[in-house]
Symmetry: C3
Subunit: 110 residues, 3 copies
Amino acid sequence: MPHIVVRGIPVEQLKEISTALVEELAAICGCGTDNFMIECLHTTAVFQGNEVESYPFIEVAWFERGQEVRDRFAQAIARHVLSLGIPEVETAFIAYRQDSYYLNGEGFFE
Amino acid sequence: MPHIVVRGIPVEQLKEISTALVEELAAICGCGTDNFMIECLHTTAVFQGNEVESYPFIEVAWFERGQEVRDRFAQAIARHVLSLGIPEVETAFIAYRQDSYYLNGEGFFE
Amino acid sequence: MPHIVVRGIPVEQLKEISTALVEELAAICGCGTDNFMIECLHTTAVFQGNEVESYPFIEVAWFERGQEVRDRFAQAIARHVLSLGIPEVETAFIAYRQDSYYLNGEGFFE
């Protein structure tokens, strides 16, 4: 937690930014870097009958931390991704309910 | 946006329907076809100790547009998928919060 | 339904637990085993500039069934996953809205 689930950015490019990005995100959230998971989904994008490159998109699945933290989180992601020469990236946040998250079968917040 | 995330339908078959499907979905939503992303997830399904074919499933991640648009959107998806000879498809909609969606680090609706 | 979407657990190991796990989950939910889909996502995890093994994580996408059923569901998943010698697993539940789920274009609950 948070889960950073990526489409449309090559793994090799993610490696370049992963260390600095996670350090910045950990500072924003006030938690350790080992809480972060960056996962690249293997996908095939289809448009108008052809396989195309996936649009750069990052879904962050986390516990809601409010507008200010969310804005800074999204800005950090965008700055690092755009630094790779990628022209555009969209980011969406999905908030898990705290009572619906478990570690080894026990409620995460109990 | 909207994101159309597919499991259990071969890429080759999706290509056949992608153009007409996206045109119809764009008309339903009143937006351009270039807003749509069709992404096939690479997955392995497991059932009773074996690898099996994934069940055809499409998750639509979008901004909520209300029951009528959603119904028409789901009907269009189903009609095109079933036209491929696929007997059954389930579709679920996930609504992103507008304040939790960003383009290049800026709020999408600001 | 429910969808059991897995990252970070090898397919071969999932096969070992799939039959007993789904039987137990079906008993908890009071439905047939053929309602369950176990899907392993193909992903690449990145941490500190390197590809690493994905952290074991299971997202359950379903209709909300309340705290007691959810707890038992999460406990069953954890017990079976940990029985493989995997030291830790996180599980998150995403609730689909009943009015936003379709079978062949028709509302699932109509």
